[in-house]
Symmetry: C2
Subunit: 219 residues, 2 copies
């Protein structure tokens, strides 16, 4: 119920969140962010997913901010992309400075503009180790700032903060979410590389949930 | 001391803040935001002010977000610009959805990227009545979110939150700040209109501070 602006990356987590909210009757608009990421391919996935559900989809273009967001493997060609698990120290190279606050602030702006009730965000427990801005403490502080930012009150919905990615995969299958349309590889080629942080987590999540992984991997 | 990213609109308040921080020996970078405002003229003023002080200046281009920020007289040509004091109800038409959080989030991103200690923002007491996102409660909540957003800790410096604009004008004169270069009119023409909200506040501030107003007004 109510109206929400859903941050839709084109990956599995945000797509399952969208499916979950729509199943509950929430009026959803979807927002993707072009922050100059290598894997701009995920924006095409987001478009297809929004079209699948017949919901409004906008892409906020922050690519001009790229010079201010230097130092991350996701935005700088001269920083190599690490492989392996999120929990590893090397994965910190994929942190984009203040990325989540930026994305949430834009979602908040749109929500205030259209008088939506919530912004919805699919951060989950597996993100916490390396991304401080995916943690519940950050989410609470951000929600308070957003609540105080305008006369129109917008809340933050982040129901997956204590979920594992395997639970999200399972939920996606149960809800009939079009997981075959999702894309999340940091390398950004046509198919998932199978080796980067998100690919490693994604493969493992499907395996742990004991459901079929609809993704095609290079390796 | 230390390093700061200073949000520089090109108006009087942020210019005095820059002068104040430089006088104290802070290493300052300056950031202006193009959010599709009518008064894009202020960005030229910001460039001249940064050049005057010999500090780095960047403009973050958010003009592509304009469709998401609908409904404000500052970004929509079909919403008329109100005249008079900030305290008046009509002035709420100049609120741009979540504008300050967006600007602060970008400043925070750049600060994290270059490992600066602070972001500095010149909100003052006269803004509180109509702009919730200029109030101390919002600033505190935002600062906490920013502090939690990354491994590198950035604080928010907003020393003018309890200052009147007249105090800022007086401080600017005492510090030898180039107030003649500042521009803040919402109408966005070459000279200050003299009638919009910021012009009304600006004229009054110089009069109350009993210092010379270096601005040229149309009316």
């Amino acid at each position: 119920m109510g109206a929400a602006v859903v941050l839709l990356s084109g990956g599995m987590d945000s797509t399952v969140l969208l499916g979950h909210l729509l199943r509950g009757g929430t009026d959803c608009r979807t927002l993707s962010i072009d922050y100059g990421q290598r894997h701009v391919r995920e924006l095409d996935a987001a478009r297809l997913i929004a079209a699948h559900y017949g919901v409004e989809h906008r892409v906020a273009d922050l690519s001009s901010l790229k010079p201010l967001l230097a130092g991350s493997a996701l935005t700088s060609d001269d920083v190599p992309l690490p492989h392996g698990h999120y929990a590893e120290e090397s994965m910190k190279a994929t942190v984009v400075p203040n990325r989540n606050m930026l994305m949430l602030a834009i979602a908040g702006a749109w929500a205030i503009s259209v008088k939506a009730d919530w912004i919805a965000y699919a951060a989950h427990a597996g993100d916490h180790a390396i991304y401080p801005d995916c943690r519940p403490e950050f989410m609470s502080a951000f929600e308070r700032a957003l609540y105080l930012a305008d006369w129109h009150k917008v809340r933050l919905v982040a129901p997956f903060t204590d979920f594992t990615k395997a639970s999200i995969a399972l939920m996606g299958v149960r809800l009939g979410v079009p997981l075959h349309l999702t894309y999340s590889c940091y390398a950004g080629r046509e198919e998932h590389c199978g080796k980067c942080g998100t690919c490693t987590e994604r493969r493992e999540a499907f395996a742990l949930a004991q459901v079929i992984d609809p993704s095609t991997y290079e390796a």
